[in-house]
Symmetry: C2
Subunit: 225 residues, 2 copies
């Protein structure tokens, strides 16, 4: 069972955020944890009742998720959780090469020591979560790691587009969770090496490591099926 979206203790903290955004966060969580299955139809009345909110706010959330590519809405037919395919992974990998790689290269010359210090705390956090096998939290930290890097690229539009891609990447990672159990060490090591490259402001190394890291996800997917 889950806590209601707006229980007493949270109501003050999140009152600033539109309810639709809070609901979108919750739906993303349910998708990534598998509580909502891929391909599943999302009945508005049912879901709204379960979350104890109105259909209006739910629909607002669904529109956000549709923009992110996590669900697909067929007019008059309903909203369905999008079921990613290998073809989707190819598209996403191509986009990462076009957007994330150039973003990281720009970041290399703009990254601050504070950024690097923060990244290193994330690395520590990663290792802990890997030990405890808390995959959901681990992937969250992973998102934060990459977003921190892209965030320094200096182009707000690149950042917001990367967020969309990242949401989809995360969806893949969630599905690949069992395969990542085998690659615990690799996971931390790749990120640690990236941090080292940024620390040295070594553009070539960043590019090489980043490409390898991106390929890693694509390769992992190939083992499935």
């Amino acid at each position: 069972m889950h806590l209601p979206i707006h229980n007493e203790e949270n109501s003050r903290a999140i009152k600033q955020k539109p309810l639709g955004q809070v609901v979108a966060d919750e739906l993303r969580r349910r998708i990534w944890t598998g509580e909502i299955a891929y391909g599943e139809r999302l009945l508005e009345a049912e879901l709204a009742a379960e979350l104890d909110i109105s259909r209006s706010s739910l629909r607002e959330a669904l529109q956000s998720l549709e923009y992110e590519g996590l669900v697909i809405n067929k007019a008059r037919k309903g909203t369905f959780v999008y079921n990613f395919t290998k073809q989707d992974m190819k598209e996403i990998t191509e986009l990462r090469y076009l957007i994330e790689i150039p973003a990281l290269l720009k970041t290399t010359s703009r990254i601050t020591d504070e950024d690097i210090a923060y990244l290193e705390t994330l690395l520590v956090e990663m290792e802990r979560l890997i030990d405890e096998e808390k995959w959901y939290d681990l992937f969250n930290i992973d998102m934060q790691f990459h977003l921190t890097l892209v965030h320094r690229c200096g182009n707000s539009r690149i950042i917001s587009m990367y967020k969309v891609i990242q949401t989809q990447i995360r969806t893949f990672l969630s599905q690949l969770e069992p395969y990542y159990r085998e690659k615990k060490q690799l996971f931390t090591k790749e990120h640690a090496m990236l941090v080292e490259a940024f620390k040295k402001r070594d553009v070539q190394k960043v590019e090489r490591l980043a490409k390898e890291h991106i390929n890693q996800v694509a390769v992992t997917l190939d083992f499935v099926d």
Copy 2:
């Protein structure tokens, strides 16, 4: 004065489309024609009444426009038409280099003779609209031209991201309209040369022309102020 969104003659044709999308189209039109000014606050009740629709559908439309970056919604403060700056133009230009150029290069080897034939009809249309000085329609054809090219790149995510960028580019063009009056010939010529390059499947030429074309917009903006 404008026709109401859902008058009798249109009601059948657009009944399939969610009202929110129709409203979004109308709002885009009003922004691009200048009927709605940049920076203007959009009062939901007022706008909904004027369009003769409910606030729900209007809010759905506004959410779409916010994703496209045409408006910005400040929680509890209202929705405002986004006012683009030169800095925004720089970001957009950078993104075009990252997304549109690679897309066009991929298209070069995938474009069909039917595509080229269609592009040539658009060229004819462009010349006619330039003669008649119908700038709004001209920019619409321009969007269709570029979208046709990007559409052949084979990556659906690149296409949908390009659509977002293009909507913002279009917003700039609308503001630069007076400057384009001076460049009538250049406008058609650049597109015609691009078509020729695609016809020959000449990747290098496509890349060079496309970059020049992108720079052209950025340069035009520099004359402003």
